[in-house]
Symmetry: C2
Subunit: 344 residues, 2 copies
DNA sequence: ATCGGCAATGTGTCCGTTCACATTCGCGAA
DNA sequence: TTCGCGAATGTGAACGGACACATTGCCGAT
């Protein structure tokens, strides 16, 4: 039945034009159209021109599914996120999306409901069902990586914020250095009794920041307070701060992220004390709000967006065999504001 | 050539098992396997059992591309985000991912580089290339919707945070009500000179919050200060706060989001004043940090996650013809903390 | 014993591409 | 003129599923 021949009230069901439609209209074979599409060699410029015109004219768009079926490539990159909606991962993700789009790739994301093996396997399964070509993991928990070790992936994988996890392509700002910068800053101000409120034990970054803290404390030969394991939330910082202030055997706190630092601020104020007069506080991440905390928070900045961009560059490099990758490590930067002052 | 017959050093290229492999192994036709997969009726339980066993055994996973090719359904939902990584959208997105995964759908996201027509069309084009079945738009700017009006989409669309945009399925917390609650709270505390720092003019929510503010001010017959158009950032709140404090012709500020409120806090402190003693401040959103601001911020909470979940429910309803949708509107809630006090 | 009818299962075709392998065309060299 | 040859283009398979339409087997009614 020819297109116009449909019976009167029957919904015409306009099928999207396919490659053969284009070919017919352009008076060439579908293979030629395919060549134009994949800009292969050996196409007479005039032919290419004509085909392109028709494509534009009928609004032809290659069917990804058909293409994926035969090439078994989906031009899709999966991103696995941990359940939390933190500033860092979110910022990286946005950069990942942009970079991927630029390269003509799609991003599909899945967030983990937990960090156990089941959950990781499930999330991965979900992504794999889309036949993703590469994977970015922003779920920097030890257990997630343990799960990965058992999973034996066959596609390129890049992990973010997972300093030093061997055997996997890993990209991150140097957390240990960042923690050292923060700690040294406090030491330079004369503090000797410094507390560290860490992230959850399971988190790789938390562990790295803790290590950096301890390295610097040891290097300066200062008394070691056992780090307190937190959960990244301001809520935790607040509660632990209140408890800690019962016995004030410290003059400074290095919180493993800005939110916990904020909670500590709150606790200090609740106790009728002042930052930095009575207690100095340093955070980590430099979220946009940090400079407007009261007092403005001294913290460690890391370039999350750059991290995201590089992860895609790395992945694409592996996927398409490029080589000019930027392997410089991304350095954290101490941002000195007003929340840490000299000891008095 | 039989599988084992490959020449010694030739990479064996293990093809993933397909539906016919499974059928052969199970001793049935591929159609039967297909029926098991799509749990169609008329399969003898013992047969289904056997097929499922084989599927599990060989790790068969239906090829999405092939399925999409023939059904022209991708089981993928697209999400279009505005460029910013705000708390609300991010939270909604995470809930969207979860809800979609639960229903067996994939999410692919694209963030807009700007809010002009070109950009929206480009982002959409990118998503459409994946043949998404439905679209969630979290880019509540007027221009984005103007762009959509011209675009004549053929797939179900749900927009978030875009109160009252007609003709499109729109889901949102009642922003006007939220703003009225916040404003009324200040009025009830005795404030008469209330300033509103709004979001960018282009944002639908900003406009709604502003409307709610003005409604309440007018209802109480109070003097109207022209709203100040901000950009959602703490930075802006800070700068405008400093300027405003030059002439203190107000006693309270209603900021259109918590970040700007934080900036205002900062400015007030810089001026040697106190919140809420000298100026009362109310925010909007109730980001997790808000309760640990100093002082803890009185603000309006909205359930972003619920919003995300519902958007998927709505979309799936349209896609799969379900009907039992929850049409109750999501109400915002005033969270009274310490940043707004009685006038003195 | 035959047949209708339904449950369970099988066969052929198509979806829109790409790939490997033809085929055509034109032009210069023999 | 004929041949060779490379550039430009065409043809016939796949790819892995789903759908429409057979076909088979079995049971009870006739």
């Amino acid at each position: 039945m020819k297109p116009g021949t449909t019976r009167a009230m029957e919904p015409t069901k306009v099928r999207a034009p396919n490659i053969r439609d284009v070919a017919r209209l352009a008076g060439v074979s579908y293979q030629t159209v395919s060549r134009v599409l994949n800009n292969a060699a050996s196409i007479r410029p005039s032919t290419r021109q004509r085909v392109l015109e028709i494509i534009d004219q009928v609004g032809y768009r290659p069917n990804q599914a058909a293409r994926a079926l035969v090439t078994s490539k989906s031009r899709t990159i999966g991103v696995l996120l941990s359940q939390t909606a933190h500033y860092g991962p979110t910022t990286s993700l946005r950069a990942i999306e942009d970079a991927a789009r630029e390269a003509g790739y799609l991003i599909t994301t899945t967030s983990l409901s937990a960090s156990d093996y089941e959950s990781v396997a499930g999330g991965l399964e979900h992504l794999m069902s889309q036949a993703i070509e590469g994977l970015v993991v922003i779920a920097p928990q030890v257990r997630v990586f343990d799960a990965f070790k058992e999973l034996a992936l066959t596609i390129p994988l890049v992990t973010l914020d997972s300093t030093g996890t061997d055997a996997l392509r890993s990209l991150s700002v140097d957390q240990i250095l960042g923690a050292r910068l923060a700690t040294r800053h406090l030491i330079d101000l004369g503090h000797q009794e410094i507390l560290h409120i860490s992230g959850p034990q399971d988190w790789i970054e938390a562990e790295a920041r803790m290590r950096g803290f301890l390295q610097e404390i040891n290097a300066a030969d200062l008394p070691t307070h056992p780090p307190i394991l937190g959960d990244w939330t301001a809520e935790f910082g607040y509660h632990v701060g209140r408890e800690l202030l019962g016995s004030r055997d410290f003059t400074a706190v290095f919180a493993a992220n800005d939110q916990m630092a904020l909670g500590v601020f709150h606790a200090i104020r609740d106790a009728g004390l002042d930052v930095p007069r009575d207690v100095s506080v340093v955070g980590f991440d430099d979220i946009p709000e940090a400079r407007h905390f009261w007092p403005p928070l001294t913290t460690v900045r890391q370039d999350f967006a750059e991290l995201g961009r590089r992860s895609i560059a790395l992945l694409l490099g592996e996927l398409e065999g490029e080589t000019d990758l930027n392997h410089d490590s991304i350095l954290p930067e101490l941002v000195v504001r007003d929340s840490a002052g000299p000891i008095r």
